[in-house]
Subunit: 241 residues, 2 copies
DNA sequence: CCTCCCTGAACCAATATTGAGCCAATTCTT
DNA sequence: AAGAATTGGCTCAATATTGGTTCAGGGAGG
């Protein structure tokens, strides 16, 4: 526990004893302060009512009413036998998010790709080092020369990945990693197999070439546009619209 | 109040906060910390459950549940008779992605928010039901009327969340959930605390109002623009550029 | 006197932890 | 190769923790 927090507690206590009337709503705001100072973010759980009550020097009934305010706010949820939890900040919900993501539809994801990938291409055109651009070009070359679908698939994905890699935005890179993992799962695999053809492969390669050219010219605007055009083709092929 | 009594209080406080209740989820986070500090990287093996249990002073059953958390999010795999092993070697696993995301900078995230949230607002203007729009308006109203910072914080976040909720894109919604969780963690707290002021709050409210108006007019283009303007304000306040 | 809020206490129901034992897969020792 | 030791998987009953609820009383302010 940080020293500042302890001091805060002490101050609260002294204030509390100087001003003997501590009512539920006051306690509720004190709790909110401690929550928004990040006090209980770790594992998102706040202490049991009985502990809080004795800590604040009030009866459990009062503390219950105080916590009820937070519950009404939606700041907190309570479970009998388990405890009281912050709604926003618990790491457990991270797993839940990822779980739900696994069920999202390819259509939804393609929509978001069309937001993120052009931006990534644009960032890359501005920020990439010569070496990184070479890596992109290399991925494109291998994909173009590949003979079978799995190899093409792999280097196609790698091409996109390497563009994200030089976007200089860690968060964007990780979102793309997420998408990449999701795309390697069941519903996508069928879809990709169905939609693959030699003709489409050569179209993809041309479009990749356009993106690569724009990157090499350091032209963010046309990189973005070329990527968007490519994704629209992919979407059409994958989802048939 | 006599000084001795104050000291008593202080001691009580420290005692109370130094002795946290150890439950399975707490142990899980403690384990994660030790793992990420490189404790057991050598041959990637974690001590047997029985040892860990006695080390943490809990029953083996409890330790088993704790380790199960790690197993669930893919941090670890267990083999009967052999032991429990780290899986961290695989950078493409969901768990690894999530782990790295926790370390992304607010600046990077704000950049991505400026891509996604205007789009979400635009989708929402087109797709939202009347009831959903009412929910957005309600969040805005409560935020505007809130008296203290934590309440405002909460309903501010809720406003944004409800816009995503009516974007009709599950994947987008989940990405926003991720951002929301990350924003409730350590590095953001300082920043938010530092940047808050009554004046800024009222500016945020006005900007929210502009977004809301555009949504109610079912005008995707201006919803998107209003949201972008708002995010630029937030970014300026948060990051000082 | 009345109202409102807090106190203190007891009990309930849901959930978690304990402690113990046994099984099955694996590894180590003889 | 056979047996002992280690290790995760599993079950069960007893106990502890925790939020939910109710009730009788006290004290401050109208």
């Amino acid at each position: 526990m940080p020293e500042a927090a302890i001091n805060g507690l002490i101050l609260d206590q002294i204030k509390a004893t100087q001003m003997p009337k501590l009512v539920a709503s006051d306690i509720a705001t004190a709790l909110k302060k401690r929550i928004s100072s990040g006090e209980w973010v770790e594992n998102g759980r706040i202490p049991p009512e009985r502990d809080l009550a004795s800590e604040f020097g009030v009866a459990r009934n009062t503390m219950r009413r105080a916590v009820s305010f937070l519950e009404d706010d939606g700041t907190v949820v309570r479970h009998v036998g388990r405890g009281t939890f912050l709604t926003a900040a618990n790491p457990a919900s991270m797993a839940a998010v990822v779980g739900r993501m696994e069920g999202t539809s390819p259509a939804d994801m393609m929509e978001i790709r069309q937001l993120l990938e052009p931006a990534a291409a644009s960032f890359a055109a501005t920020n990439a080092s010569a070496m990184e651009l070479n890596a992109v070009r290399e991925a494109h070359r291998i994909a173009s020369e590949s003979q079978d679908m799995p190899t093409f698939e792999h280097w196609d994905a790698e091409f996109h990945h390497r563009i994200f890699a030089c976007s200089r935005n860690e968060f964007l890179k990780e979102i793309h990693n997420l998408m990449r993992i999701l795309r390697n799962q069941a519903p996508w695999f069928e879809m990709k197999k169905r939609s693959f053809s030699e003709e489409r492969r050569s179209i993809y390669c041309e479009e990749h070439q356009a993106v690569l050219d724009a990157l090499l010219r350091r032209d963010p605007e046309s990189a973005s546009q070329a990527m968007l055009a490519h994704l629209k083709t992919v979407q059409r092929n994958l989802l048939g619209r």
